[in-house]
Amino acid sequence: MSAVVDTAPAASADERAARAPWVLTAPALMLFVGVLVIPLTMTVMLSFHDWGQYKGIEPVFILKNWREIATDPYYAEMFWRTFRIALLTTLITAVFGAPEAYILNRMSGRWKSFFLLVILGPLLISVVARTLGWALLFGGNNGLVNKLLMSLGLIGTPLRFMFTETGMVVALAHVMMPFMVLSVWAALQRLDPQIENAALSLGASAPTIIRRIVLPQIVPGVLSGAIIVFSLSASAFATPAIIGGRRLKVAATLAYDEFLNTLNWPLGAAVAILLLVALVLIVVGSNALIERRYAEAFR
C-alpha cells in the first residue's frame, strides 16, 4: 500500500519532466507547423491538382503538371536560366566581394567603419528601388549611361541591359554583394592578426601570403557566402521581375505569373516546389561537402 502511495507522485514527476520539453517548445512548434508545414503541404498537394481554363482547380490527384514541367523544354530552359544566373551572380560576388572584405579589413578604424557603412548601406534601400536605379541608368535609349555613351559617340546603339541575362546578373550581384562581403568579413575576423607577419618572417612574399595563408582560411567564409547568395539569387523575385519582365522569366517570376496571371495555381505550385527542392538539395549538398572538406582544420 505504502509502495503505491510512494510511486504515484514519483511517476507523475517523471511524466511532467518528460512533457516539459514539448510544453516549452509548443508555441514555437505551433507557429512552425501553422505558417510553414501546413502551407507547404498544401502547396505540394496543390501541385497534383488539375486545372482547366473554364473548370478552374479540381482537387484530384494527377501528375499532369509535373509531366508538363518534365517534358516541355520551356521549363527546363527556364530552370537552367535561373540556376545559370544564380551561379554567375555567386561567382561575381565572390570575385569582387572577397577582395573587398579583405581590403576593408586592412583599413584603419575610421575608414573601415565608413566603408562598411557604404557596403551595408544598400541593404537599407528596397531591392525594387535599387533595381529600378539600374533600369534608369541602362534602360533603352533614354537610360542615362546609354545616352551619355551615345552622345560621346562611343556606341552606336544602346547597350542592351533590360530584358537580358547580363542585366539580371549585374543587378543581382549588386543586390547580393553585402551578403558575400559580410560573410567573408566574419571569416577574416577569426584570422590571427599576427598570422601575416608570421608568414612574412618565414620569407613569404605578399602574393604567397594571400594565396597560401589568407585565402585558405577565408574559403569557408566565401563558400558560406556563396550558399547564401546562390539561394537568394535563385529564388529572387523583384530584380528578375523588373529587369527581365515577362520576356525573360526565371522560376520565381514564372510561379508568380502562373498564380496571378494565368491563374493556373497547380502548375505554379509545381514550379515553386521544384525550385524549393532543387535549392534545398544544392544547399544541403554543398554544405555537407564544405563541412567534410574543412572539418579537420576548422571544427
Binding site: 590571427d192 599576427q194 598570422i195 607577419n197 608570421a198 618565414l202 613569404a204 582560411q217 582544420a297 571544427r299
Partner: protein, 346 residues
Amino acid sequence: MAFLELDRLCKQFGAQTVVDDFSLAVGKGEFVSFLGPSGCGKTTTLQMIAGFLDPSRGAIRLEGKDLTAVPPANRGLGIVFQSYALFPHMTAAENVAFGLEMRRVSRAECAERVRSALAMVGLAGYEERYPRRMSGGQQQRVALARALVIRPSVLLLDEPLSNLDAKLREGMQIELRQIQRTLGTTTVLVTHDQNEAMSLSDRIVVMSQGRIEQIGTPQDTYERPASAFVSQFLGKTNDFAATIDRTVAPARLVAGSWNAPAPAGLSGPVTISIRPERIGFADVGLAAKIMTRIFQGNHWLFQCASECGPAIVIRQNDGQPQPAEGDAVRLAWRQDDMSLRAGGAA
C-alpha cells in the same frame, strides 16, 4: 664586434615617443631579454628588429650590415608570437615546412629537417595534427619549431610563454633554455615576467616608458638595480628613507634606529634599497612590528611596520623558530647587500 646591434633606435607614433634612444649590442649566441611593464616599448623594439615596423631614427645592424632597408621576408629571423600565429589550415608538419618551402629547400631535405625540428621540441609523432587539435603548450612548441627550422640568425620571442599555465611555463622555460644553448642561436625575448627573464637570459634589458633603465646580467640587475624602477620591478624590495650625517666623525648612515658607517660620496637624505631576503632579525637595528606572517613552504614572508615605513622580510624555512605576529623585532642587514641612492624614498 657585436652580432646584432641596435644603434640609437627611436620610434614615434605621431607625437608619442614609444621607443627612445635604444642602443644595445647583442653578442653571437647570446640570450637577451627585454623586460618591462606593458607599454614600455619592448614589443615595438622587437617589431622593428623583425621589420614589421620602421624605426623613426637609428639603425639596426646584423653582422655589421644595415637591416633597416631589408624587407622582413629577407631578414631571415625566426619569430615566435604571443598568439603563436600558427597556420590553422596546415598540419604541424606543414606549418614547420612553410619557411623551408619559401626557401626552396629540396623535398627530401625539407622532410628531414621538419622531422628533426619537431623531434627537438618533443613533438615527434604529431606531424599530421592540426593546430586546433593541440594543447596550448604543443602549439607553442610547433611555433618554436617553425621559427627554428629555417636556422635563423636571430630568434625573436614575443611573450611566447604568457599564454601557458604556470607549471607548463616553468617546464618550457627550462626546455627553451636548453634548446637555445644547444643550437647557439642568438635570441631576443620580450617579456613582462621578471622570473622568465631572469631564468632564461644571459643579459636583461629593463625598459620603462620607451627608455632603457638598465642592461646587465640577471644577477646584476637584481642585486645592483640602477634605479628605483628596476629595484621595484625586479622582485620585491624595501626602500627606506635614510640620512647621511656628516656632522659626526666618522660620518654615519642612519635609518631610524639602524645605523652604519657612511660610505664616501653621498650626503644628506638618501634611500636605502634592500631585498627582503637580505634582511635578518637581530638584537639591534631598525625597530619594527610584525603585522602579518605568511608561511609559504620553503620560506616565511613577514610584513612589518617599521620606523621607516612598511617593510617586507623573507626568511628561509630552515627549522629555526620565527617571530610571531605582533612581535616587536629589530631588522638588520649587511651593508654590502643594500644599494644607496641619493634623495628620499619614492
